[in-house]
């Protein structure tokens, strides 16, 4: 009997041990929510860790990041850009323990916006359940001012070969729509740092953005646009409540760029925004995902947080492109600009 039990135990050990070894090795694999603490703010991002041959690959908010894994230790280097457009790296050094990661991070490279070294941590992403939640709308109407929180502002994204090809010949600034007072549209407008107002009507939300004085309507009655509706920078938006999360899906978009860097948003793009309100009703958070397989191998993710501020004023945005055209004229660049007509939207 004892011999039988011993044989069973040895067999089980032989069977389970390799499995447990594999399990230990694979612990880093999967989707994680990373949270990073700068002095005054918290940044949040989706980190995907995947095996590739003998090594690992990492994506932060859909953009490639450098990763080194040694035993339980991990180093992640992800690029970002600051308010002035200067590109820098964040270096996250940490370890995995009890299925959670934690460590410290430092900013590397020159940037206008200095970040103090701070802690970071990561927990496994809780997948969104496929079951439909009952709609429990909350009051999001009002004036909202942006905070500096949430978005890692990942710089390099996972472009398709066509997306890379487009970017090669894009000229930052010259080809950017808003410098000549033309709408940059979604997704950029929805996450810029300028205030906006949400007005609730029976069948729609109307959003008025200070930047470029742009307006959009989010239809809550499931309507589809008429066949004559032209594509636009704000597209056609349908909203629905899942629990207390407002989910907005936008299609019928005009070709534009994701931000001033010039990465393309094609006409086939579908943008999902998820808005949620804090328990006290004073903080609004958004996660925006760009599903555009023409331009991106992985959907770029952007986040933004606002605080309710009904005293805020939405300033008029009178736009005059003189400060764009005059220096170009002075520097003899008008011919070059005109020749690039096909690069602009």
């Amino acid at each position: 009997m004892v011999a039988k039990l011993n044989r069973y135990c040895i067999a089980m050990l032989l069977l389970v041990m390799p499995l447990s070894l594999v399990a230990v090795e694979a612990d880093f694999e999967g989707r994680w929510m990373v949270s990073l603490q700068d002095q005054k703010r918290t940044l949040v991002g989706l980190l995907e860790l995947e095996r590739s041959g003998d090594g690992w690959v990492a994506y932060l908010e859909g953009g490639p990041a450098t990763v080194e894994i040694d035993g339980n230790n991990i180093v992640i280097i992800a690029d970002s850009r600051d308010v002035r457009g200067f590109v820098f790296d964040r270096r996250l050094v940490g370890a995995l323990k009890d299925d959670a990661m934690s460590g410290s991070y430092t900013q590397e490279g020159a940037a206008a916006q200095k970040e103090a070294p701070g802690p970071w941590s990561a927990k496994r992403e809780v997948p969104v359940t496929a079951t439909k939640k009952e709609a429990k709308p909350v009051d999001i109407s009002g004036m909202w001012t942006a905070t500096q929180e949430l978005d890692f502002r990942k710089y390099t994204m996972a472009l398709t070969p066509a997306g890379k090809e487009w970017l090669k010949t894009y000229l930052p600034y010259y080809d950017q729509p808003d410098v000549r007072c033309t709408s940059i549209g979604l997704p950029a407008l929805a996450t810029y740092s300028f205030p906006f107002e949400i007005i609730q009507s029976e069948d729609r939300y109307t959003m008025i953005y200070e930047y470029l004085s742009k307006v959009r309507r989010v239809w809550m009655d499931g309507r589809t646009p008429s066949e004559f509706m032209p594509p636009s920078r704000m597209g056609h938006s349908n909203g629905r409540w899942e629990g207390s999360t407002l989910i907005i899906e936008t299609t019928l978009l005009d070709k534009t760029v994701r931000d001033f860097r010039g990465e393309l948003i094609s006409e086939n793009a579908r943008i999902e925004e998820r808005y949620s309100l804090s328990a006290d009703g004073n903080t609004l958070s958004a996660v925006l995902t760009v599903d555009d397989p023409d331009s991106y191998e992985r959907p770029p993710v952007r986040r933004r947080r606002w605080v309710r501020n009904d005293k805020t004023e939405i300033f008029p945005y009178t736009c005059d492109p003189d400060s764009f055209y005059i220096p170009m004229y002075e520097d003899g660049e008008m011919d070059m600009y005109i020749e690039r007509t096909d690069r602009r939207f």
Partner: protein, 137 residues
């Protein structure tokens, strides 16, 4: 010094001159001249005092030309760029904050390749008032 060594030592210099020439002549124009991203450098800041000669207090971004007298007595015109009016208005700037003829001290990031451009962070007026565009955080 043996001549052979001389040849070996001059080659890298020649290579670098060639690379630099190619870069300056062919690569630079692709970056564009006025982009915040390509035209300014995060590594170099400057504080310059001068007299304002032209003002564009408009969206999408403000622009000021100002004349600075250099160390050797030469007058140089600098081109300063700032944020949109809606951003500055929230920080207390008005269209009358900086006028032609005013003496101002501008602090900001310098243009690349020695271009006389400044990406404004702060402006100090004659009476000591400091106008903030962006502050390094």
């Amino acid at each position: 010094m043996p001549p052979a060594k001389d040849i070996h030592r001059t080659r890298p210099v020649f290579d670098w001159v060639l690379i630099a020439t190619i870069f300056v002549c062919f690569v630079r124009p692709a970056f564009g001249h006025h982009s915040f991203t390509a035209e300014f450098t995060a590594e170099k800041t400057a504080t310059l005092t001068g007299t304002v000669t032209q003002v564009w207090f408009r969206n999408p971004h403000v622009r000021f030309l100002f004349a600075v007298t250099s160390a050797d007595g030469e007058e140089e015109v600098w081109d300063a760029r700032g944020s949109p009016v809606v951003w500055l208005a929230r920080k207390g700037w008005t269209r009358n904050s900086i006028k032609v003829g005013d003496t101002v001290t501008m602090y900001g990031f310098l243009g690349r390749d020695g271009r006389k451009m400044l990406s404004i962070m702060t402006v100090t007026l004659e009476d000591g008032t400091v106008l903030i565009d962006r502050v390094p955080e």
